[in-house]
């Protein structure tokens, strides 16, 4: 089993709201092999962040992981005691946060924020080790003496990447690691992240809105819709032959690909998590919908090449029109 760096089985997360339980992540399953890069995409509110943070058990009330299993190199995350969990974080699974601008403690120098990481895990830090980590993300050793406010957004995110790889975790979770940065810096930082991830030999789950950008950095892409992982496949396959109508709609809405004529953006809004249609959550917006979709929820269909899609018709390619 521990051939996998990360193994997620039927992960389910709910938020308690005034109007009932909102299932933000619904039976999500996937595996990553060491060094693999998964890009998680989907509309806003589809559950990407919730999935990503669940992997480190960082969901706060009113949210709660209500079911499933998460294993990192075989170790059970959900069964870990608070102290075991603390020791797993950063050492086995690390986070590159979304808010690059405010993810570092403003009153501590960057160096101190490396040192407390080492101290918490019983490791020796030291200027040389920190300098090497900073160098691996393209930063000068002096940065250790700087406070966060003295760094640009891109530099801060590089510091966060260096912190994430510092203890050589098996898995890195990066939630929109570049969304707060401008476009040019975004690519540089993503390149740095991938380089650091390769050097650490870690698998990575990258969350992002931009499917085009993801395609350049990920091996596989997972598409989320209304808390469900509706399709997961290698980048090349998913672009050449999407099996879920929602994936196809996402690809078609990308501006820069050389498709003309048949462009059809997605109309309508995603359903409320408190009021999901009984069958396929995508049915109200799906161009391919049939009566069965409205009553029967599609389970995962396993396809050749380790692909998977949750659509009654996943076995057939999605045709235009």
């Amino acid at each position: 089993m521990s051939r996998h760096a990360l193994s997620v089985r039927s992960l389910t997360v709910e938020f308690a709201t005034a109007r009932g339980q909102a299932r933000a992540v619904d039976e999500v399953s996937f595996d990553l092999v060491p060094g693999e890069r998964l890009g998680l995409v989907g509309e806003s509110g589809s559950g990407k962040t919730t999935t990503a943070l669940s992997l480190l058990r960082l969901i706060r009330p009113p949210g709660r992981i209500v079911g499933g299993e998460i294993r990192i190199a075989g170790a059970d995350v959900l069964a870990a005691s608070p102290e075991e969990l603390r020791r797993m974080r950063a050492a086995r699974i690390a986070l590159v946060p979304q808010g690059a601008m405010s993810a570092l403690n403003p009153v501590l120098t960057c160096g101190a924020q490396f040192e407390d990481l080492f101290a918490a895990h019983g490791e020796r830090g030291g200027a040389a080790r920190i300098a090497a980590l900073l160098a691996s993300v393209g930063l000068e050793p002096q940065v250790a003496g700087f406070f966060p406010h003295q760094l640009s957004g891109g530099m801060k995110q590089r510091v966060c990447i260096a912190l994430a790889v510092a203890l050589r975790p098996s898995v890195i979770v990066a939630d929109e690691p570049t969304s707060a940065l401008d476009v040019i810096v975004q690519r540089q930082v993503l390149r740095t992240l991938v380089k650091a991830q390769k050097e650490a030999g870690a698998a990575i789950v990258m969350v992002g809105h931009d499917m085009g950008l993801m395609a350049q950095f990920a091996h596989r892409i997972g598409v989320m819709y209304a808390g469900r992982l509706v399709e997961i496949a290698p980048v090349r396959d998913i672009f050449a032959d999407p099996r879920h109508p929602y994936t196809r709609a996402l690809i078609e809405s990308l501006p820069d690909l050389e498709r003309r004529g048949e462009f059809r953006g997605l109309s309508g809004l995603p359903p409320s998590l408190l009021d999901l249609p009984p069958g396929c959550a995508f049915a109200p917006r799906c161009p391919r919908v049939v009566e069965r979709c409205r009553v029967e929820r599609p389970g995962p269909t396993l396809l050749a090449g380790g692909r998977e899609a949750r659509c009654h018709f996943a076995a057939e390619p999605v045709h235009a029109g």
């Binding site: 986070l95 601008m101 570092l104």
Partner: protein, 332 residues
């Protein structure tokens, strides 16, 4: 960095100069001869104790009203620089600086200590009240703290005085040390001073504890939502480290500003408590001087008030960059 320091010191100097000038101007813009006025007021109030003619002479000499105004001003600054604040009219020839100095240790001791105690206790309580994994019982403290902090400190003082001083007389109700006893640097004196300080200190601590706790609780709650708190947890730091170095440390910044302001306004902070307990501090002296219409003493104390606020602000400004590294960068 040095520009920042020079800037702050300059600012403090301006504030001090303004305070001095106002203090200089007030007796001079009052209509009529200030000396006659004061002597008349004092005899009318029956407060005069010293030699009237001597007092009048000393006062005239002090005002130097026959000199040009700038000479008067320079003379005044020179006097203040030598800590010469003039003489008390009501208790001629006692010097104002003596009266002020005799009250200062009492006030600084009583108010300084009780302010620090309620700051420390309140801040810690507030931080724990907001911390998710702290005992639930702490959260129940919120209501009583709100209620008590809504009561003015002198009302708390009166209640304590009635309860512990009169109904159930276990503590002295007036003065700073046992009446009639000579002050020595020995244990009985120290215990006497301590015993006399308990009730006034308790009323100040009780009255201000809630405000510290509630402000800190609010700050910690908002800090909990910060991204760096999530990253601290993701780094696997111990909860103790996250609480102290990430949570409390950041939430403390506005508390320090409040503390400096409170310490600066120390002298005027609890005049009524000193009056209620006849505590021999600056506040009590001010109260007595106002009653005796002893203008120079009042003036001297008011000047001390403005100077101590200016000093507290300067100290805060100079130390703040050490606790919040963003400040020096922002303001220079």
């Amino acid at each position: 960095m040095w520009a920042y320091v020079a800037n702050r010191i300059g600012l403090a100097a301006v504030v001090v100069l303004i305070a001095l000038s106002v203090n200089f101007a007030i007796p001079r813009i009052m209509p009529g001869d200030p000396v006659e006025q004061q002597l008349a007021a004092i005899s009318a109030a029956g407060g005069q104790t010293g030699d009237m003619a001597e007092a009048a002479k000393a006062l005239r000499q002090r005002f130097q009203l026959d000199r040009p105004i700038w000479e008067q001003y320079l003379g005044y600054l020179w006097n203040v620089a030598r800590a010469d604040l003039g003489v008390s009219v009501a208790n001629y020839p006692q010097r104002v600086s003596e009266i002020v100095l005799s009250g200062l240790p009492w006030t600084v001791g009583l108010l300084g200590l009780s302010t620090l105690i309620s700051f420390g206790l309140g801040t810690l309580t507030g931080a724990l009240m907001a911390w998710p994994s702290a005992p639930r019982a702490l959260r129940l403290l919120a209501l009583p703290l709100v209620l008590v902090s809504a009561i003015p400190y002198f009302v708390i003082g009166l209640v304590l005085l009635a309860l512990l001083g009169i109904v159930w007389p276990i503590l002295p109700v007036a003065g700073g040390y046992p009446f009639g006893q000579v002050m020595n640097a020995d244990l009985p004196t120290a215990l006497g001073v301590l015993k006399h300080g308990i009730l006034p200190a308790l009323s100040i601590v009780l009255a201000s504890l809630g405000a510290w706790a509630l402000a800190m609780r609010g700050m910690v709650v908002s800090v909990l939502g910060e991204d760096y708190m999530m990253l601290a947890e993701a780094k696997g730091l111990t909860e103790r480290r996250i609480f102290l170095a990430y949570g409390v440390r950041n939430a403390l910044l506005p508390q320090f500003t409040q503390l400096a302001l409170k310490l600066g306004a120390l002298v005027s902070g609890a005049i009524l408590v000193e009056v209620i307990f006849a505590y021999p501090g600056i506040g009590y002296k001010l109260y007595v001087a106002i009653g005796q219409k002893d203008v120079f003493v009042v003036q001297g104390i008011v000047l001390l008030l403005s100077l101590s606020i200016a000093a507290a602000m300067l100290i805060l400004d100079l130390f703040y960059p050490l606790i919040d590294p963003r400040v020096a960068a922002r303001s220079s």
